[in-house]
Amino acid sequence: MEGLEVPSWIDLVAHALGVRIPPHVDHVLMAWVVMILLVVPCFIATRRLQRVPGPLQNILEFLVETLQGFLETIVGPRGGQYLPLIGSLTLFILGSNLLGLVPGFKSPTSNLNTTVACALVVFFSTHIIGIRRHGLFRYLRKFTGPTWWLAPIMIPIELIGHLARPISLSVRLFGNIFGEDAVLLILLYLVPLLIPLPVMLLAIFTSVVQTFVFVMLSMVYIAGAEEAEHGELVAA
């Protein structure tokens, strides 16, 4: 894995100073870059909210309205309250994926630790939402299956199914973004001129799709925690 890492400006600075940076530090710094890139425009846009929005406010309003529409379609009318969680995840993951395409930068999401962190946030949020919605015992009863005599089989199956969620979420995102960066790097070594361009276009596409899949699945999991019993929705 070490050999396939794209060198970034952090590596160049470290090389010039003659220091060895420990592993993962560059990805953490890149995550801070993403956070700054997200927080500063959002801060500027929300200081002076206008009735007729300017370009920046327009983009952000479009994002918020789209995500709220998704949430209300999938989770139900109560879905809007999860907008802060889902919106932050969307912007952070999308920004992280796209940052890797800028020369000299890396995707924070091409490090498994970042994606595991995001997936764990979703994992714990869904269970907390479920417990807050139904109470601890009624929520735990969802794990025992339709009838009591099926419980000894259903409980381990449901537990394994729930534990598989964060693993699949994090590994899929990490694998796609890491693979995308690796393909770009290999092509760059082989033919530096023009050939990587169509692959970069493809990489933009996969970045958006992977963000979409992650967020969509998070919403589906939240909807699953909000469901009353097996199968039927509360108010949808």
Binding site: G69, T73, G80, I160, G161, S168, L169, V213, M216
Partner: protein, 75 residues
Amino acid sequence: MQRRDLGPWRRIGALANLGVTMVAATAIGLAFGYQLDKWLNTSPWLMILFLLFGIAAGFINVFREASRGKEKEGD
């Protein structure tokens, strides 16, 4: 805010994850059973049992996703 019809988009999200979920569930079951075997000295029975649980969990995920799609089409 009107409720829009997501149609295929929602399913793309869920289906894109099905393959990985199946593998992850099976692997978790296997690893869990393996560790329990090492702890309780019951090799290989718990490993086989939990491997079956894991496979069942993977298939239940697929089954639920498939049947959810059918409900939507019926509306």
